[in-house]
């Protein structure tokens, strides 16, 4: 049986570093050289929480350098609570890298990255790659308040221009992050975005208005995370290069198919989405 051409594997790793960036926002670093070698910007992994909860949980690959990768997550429920209990020296099993990453080909020079809340976890690697390739990277970074703009300075150190937005005005633009993007004097070549679905919809609208191509990293409830259950779909144009193999005649005039966020995505072109 032909295997998928996949570099994803189960990695039994060890936590080597734990930082609490803000109350309930954790970064766990772990040694996984093969994962690092295989990871492309925008990919994610499935973390298996200790204690055998019902499903593993999808998390962006935040950092990946040398032997060290990390995840950054908000403690929202059972599974992230279990992960938050891990300390350096504890075992951690992850599956990855998974999904398609951002498409950074095409020699883009001027990129706006939009991150909302925990979306920040998926945009460090693309920012680093773009900066390495000599692009200008503006980070539009929104959160409820200044304290939740975690690791913002890190991105500045890497070379990004930071444009913060907070719901309460405690730092940067007072309001939504897409509003800051809409007001930017010149449009970028490309927009990359990761964050809550309402933010992504708003970014897609701004991108369409300003006629800038945009890639959105979507979030859906996952079960398998590897393409086996078809539980995580989003409707996209049947003409998209990311559309799953499907008989065109079956669509009965509709041009929409359901693509798996975990496998065909999580990154889709905004203009392909039919949500």
């Amino acid at each position: 049986m032909p295997l998928l051409e996949s570099t994803a594997r189960v990695h039994a790793t060890t936590v080597v570093d734990r930082r609490e960036l803000a109350a309930g926002i954790i970064v766990l670093g772990f040694d996984a050289p093969e994962l690092v070698a295989a990871t492309r910007p925008g990919q994610y992994l499935m973390a298996i929480p200790p204690g055998g909860e019902v499903c593993a949980t999808a998390l962006g690959i935040y950092e990946a350098q040398g032997t060290r990768a990390s995840i950054l997550f908000f403690v929202t429920g059972k599974r992230t609570r279990a992960l938050a209990e891990l300390r350096p020296g504890d075992a951690l099993t992850v599956m990855g890298p998974l999904g398609v990453g951002f498409d950074l080909s095409g020699g883009v020079r001027d990129v706006a990255i939009v991150a909302g809340g925990v979306g920040i976890a998926s945009v460090l690697l693309p920012a680093q790659a773009l900066l390495r390739a000599g692009a200008r990277v503006q980070l539009y970074y929104g959160a409820r308040n200044a304290a939740l703009l975690v690791d913002a300075e890190r991105f500045v150190t890497e070379g990004c221009e930071l444009l913060a937005a907070t719901d309460d005005g405690s730092r940067g633009h007072h309001g939504y992050v897409h509003e800051a993007l809409a007001r930017a004097p010149h449009a970028p070549d490309l927009i990359l975005a990761c964050g809550p679905t309402p933010m992504l919809r708003a970014v897609a609208k701004v991108a369409a208005e300003r006629r800038v191509p945009a890639q959105l990293s979507l979030e859906e409830t996952f079960a398998c995370g590897v393409g086996g259950c078809w539980g995580c779909v989003v409707p996209i144009a049947a003409t998209s290069a990311q559309a799953p193999s499907f008989p065109p005649a079956a669509l009965g005039g509709s041009d929409v198919v359901n693509a798996r966020v975990c496998t065909e995505g999580p990154v889709f072109w905004a203009h392909d989405l039919r949500w």
Binding site: V54, T221, V226, C229, W230, V233, A250, N258
Partner: protein
């Protein structure tokens, strides 16, 4: 004198011989290929493929999944490209399969089932057929066959007529008397029974005031339903003589043993693959250890042994040695 031999975990389901008594649940394991980077497929018994229908189906609207206490609800809605496209594009991928491939057939009429079953079973890459007459997520389009003993008999008879390959009939727990349905399926020619499919359920978003699933209702799987599934297997085992593939919330070797002791000859793992894809190999290793510890040489020795009271099963041979 006790010699520790590697126990025989193989199982016979009609004409189908499996090296391991572990099947991967339909709809949970894609085509198996998706899991190949994470598990050694040669160490599992069979993959039951995602159910396929006569016509292509776009499936249910998103959200299709909700996590619930010790389980999950799903309402995928049988998204699949339809049998014609499936035969043309997908089946050939299983030619060099490292484990058995069981095709799963779903439908909305008896004719649908017979049509798809015949075409799928004709392919050499498909080792057996499972009839999914119990999907709870397409009910709007018609009654679930497995909720009606008479309909079950008809659809099984029609499918049976199309192939000599092993025919597994998948039953629904959403009935008052699952044993009655099981007896009809056996009489109509089923070689084995898959017990159980998901339990119907629902979850509500209390802020948005709407169902959490796009399809409103869904099927509950995972550890939450295990006691329901164990009982279903126990009752079916006392009603029929054909082998049972037990399933519903199996996560550990202890869970698997409950099903064998209740009367299952093989087990199926679905939701627990989402917790950890290494679950099937852990269970196989655990079964070997358990049998060795009790000086049993084959998995068949424990099938149906939870209650010495039932007489219609032949596997009883007691602890040996």
């Amino acid at each position: 004198m006790v010699t520790r031999v590697t126990p025989d975990l193989s199982v016979q389901l009609g004409r189908l011989h499996l090296a391991y008594p572990t099947l991967m649940g339909s709809g949970c394991y894609g085509s198996g290929i998706e899991y190949a980077p994470f598990v050694d497929l040669a160490r599992i018994g069979a993959v039951v493929l995602k159910s396929v229908t006569r016509q292509p189906r776009l499936g249910n609207p998103t959200p299709r999944l909700v996590h619930t206490p010790a389980g999950m609800l799903n309402a995928i809605g049988l998204q699949n490209p339809g049998i014609a496209w499936y035969l043309e594009h997908d089946v050939a991928k299983y030619a060099d399969r490292p484990c058995a491939m069981v095709g799963s057939v779903a439908g909305f009429s008896i004719d649908d089932y017979a049509y798809v079953c015949e075409r799928l079973a004709a392919r050499a890459e498909i080792d057996a057929i499972e009839l999914n007459i119990s999907c709870p997520n397409v009910a709007s389009e018609g009654e679930t066959f497995a909720c009606d003993p008479a309909l079950t008999a008809k659809v099984v008879r029609a499918a049976r007529a199309t192939t000599d390959k092993t025919l597994i009939v998948k039953l629904s727990p959403n009935v008052t008397d699952i044993a009655a349905v099981a007896r009809e399926a056996e009489a109509a020619g089923a070689d084995a029974l898959a017990v159980i499919n998901t339990v119907r359920g629902m979850a509500i978003d209390v802020e948005a005031w709407r169902p959490r699933l796009g399809n409103v209702t869904g099927g509950l799987s995972g550890a939450a339903i295990r006691p329901i599934a164990v009982l279903a297997v126990y009752e079916v085992a006392r009603a029929v003589r054909i082998p049972i593939v037990g399933q519903g919330g199996i996560e550990t070797v202890t869970d698997a043993l409950e099903f064998f002791l209740a009367g299952a000859s093989a087990i199926s793992i679905g939701t627990a693959n989402f917790t950890d894809p290494r679950t099937p190999e852990r269970i196989v290793a655990g079964l070997s250890e358990y049998l060795q510890r009790r000086n049993l040489t084959r998995i068949g020795a424990i099938v149906g042994r939870a209650n010495r009271g039932f007489a219609n099963r032949q596997e009883y041979e007691g602890d040996q040695g």
